[in-house]
Amino acid sequence: MKTVIRNTTVADKLLFLTLIAASVAGIFFSREAMPQGPDIVITVDGKPQYTLPRDKDRLVSIPGPFGDTVVEIKDGKVRVKEAHCPNRLCEKQGWISRGAIVCLPNHIVITVGGKAGDLPRGIDAVTG
């Protein structure tokens, strides 16, 4: 081992250090590049309250200022089944299998397939 270390040049040592730095950085970059976590996240008042797998059908009732909002997960999709807010835009949005449903009056955001605002690789925003 000592011989190996003695035989390495300055360039070898620099390369070794760079490789260590690159692998440590890789841990953080790969975490950033690949969104972790469950499939369906329900955020209430800005805090994630429910983290649910999309492959299990269920109904979730979430209390809010305009009464209970009923969220339904079925066949890998999610919708707001019942809402009592004034405009009920969340209910009108229907089933989604990706993206987000926002109910502003009840302070609820439901996201599927990653965090709210997730973007495809190399893209800074999406229109459409």
Binding site: N87, K92, Q93, R98, H107, V109, P120, A125, T127, G128
Partner: protein, 341 residues
């Protein structure tokens, strides 16, 4: 000799460690992003800033600008200025804030140059449709409400800062233009906070300014109007700096009946969904014009729509009802289409 060599090696290693440390601690500008539910959608603001703290303060301030504006022009909120205008249709002019006056004046301007293809007084028609429950109003109901749809009956008094809808029953809906304007307001606020580059994305209404830290423009994906999978299927990517981009499509809110697609972009002259396009993307200098023009061009169709955008000096990508893509000459420099488009 040997010792000198060892000393040199030690010095080189120390230098390398110090360099790595210096690189990791240097305060080069970074990209910071935050998303918040506002205006019944998700708003994402991305900024280039020197620190997390600087970015966070600027983004939160811009969010509050959007929130305040959104509250003023909320169609569903009783306390909004827009609701007051609608309640007083045919009765009284209503005093409004400069932001509300600004968005309404620009809405009237776009209505005028598009000969009513965009019309914010479409409210009485749009409120009869429910695209989620597949409710289509009767032909008679659509015809009856058409007389209430006319942007020429919005009376703005700039000196008194008032807005008046001339006929009782008129309803103004600023949904086709408000998010673009919100992006404009937020961008102005970010600049005031000292931010030199970033993106404000009020859902698909986007304002990009400055350049990324690597001195390249921002990449904005344009959705394919006929998604092949659950993933965001992009038709093209636009490279933008100091530009706004918006898209309107027949896939956002719609239902199918007897093989026909009924969607939320109504032709103000007929009250029925406009049928000549699948999607329209407009790139302009201001968010409000990008947003307003997408609806106008969608309703006008590819031929008249192209004339409007050319005459107005903005760029557009139109996907017509058959999936054929039409573009203005300026698009070539900014947009790269994916294979198969």
């Amino acid at each position: 000799m040997k010792e000198t060599r060892h000393a040199e090696q030690r010095a080189a290693i120390l230098l390398a460690v110090l360099l790595l440390f210096a690189v990791s601690c240097s305060k080069s500008p970074g990209v910071y992003r935050k998303t918040k539910p506002l205006m019944d959608t998700l708003v994402t603001i991305t900024v280039v800033a020197g620190s997390d703290k600087e970015a966070d303060a600027a983004i939160e301030k811009a969010f509050s600008v959007i929130e305040q504006f959104g509250d003023k022009i909320d169609f569903f909120k009783d306390t909004s200025e827009l609701s007051a205008i609608n309640r007083n249709a045919g009765v009284n002019p209503v005093k409004v804030s400069p932001e509300t006056l600004g968005v309404i004046e620009r809405a009237i301007y776009i209505s005028g140059i598009s000969d009513g293809a965009f019309d914010p007084t479409i409210g009485p028609e749009i409120k009869m449709w429910n695209f989620y429950k597949k409710i289509r109003p009767s032909d008679d109901a659509i015809r009856n409400n058409l007389s209430l749809v006319n942007y020429r009956n919005i009376i703005v008094n700039r000196d008194k800062s008032t807005v008046f809808l001339r006929r009782k029953g008129m309803l103004m809906d600023l949904g086709g233009i408000a998010k673009g304007y919100a992006a404009d307001l937020a961008l102005a606020d970010l600049r005031q906070s000292g931010i030199g580059a970033g993106i404000v994305a009020a859902a698909g209404d986007i304002r990009a300014f400055g350049l990324k830290p690597d001195r390249t423009p921002w990449n904005v994906g344009i959705k394919n109007p006929r998604q092949k999978s659950d993933a965001d299927d992009l038709m093209a990517t636009a490279r933008l700096s100091n530009k706004a981009v918006s898209t309107s499509g027949d896939y956002e809110r719609y239902f199918m009946e007897d093989g026909r697609r009924y969607h939320h972009i109504l032709d103000p002259k007929t009250g029925y969904p406009a049928g000549q396009c699948r999607s329209v993307t407009v790139i302009s200098d201001d968010g409000i014009f990008a947003d307003g023009f997408t609806t106008a061009v969608f309703v006008l169709g590819p031929e008249k729509g192209m004339k409007l955008v050319r005459d107005s000096g903005v760029d557009a990508v139109i996907v017509d009802k058959d999936g054929v893509i039409h573009t203005t000459p300026g698009i070539k420099k900014m947009v790269t289409f994916e294979d198969g488009h």
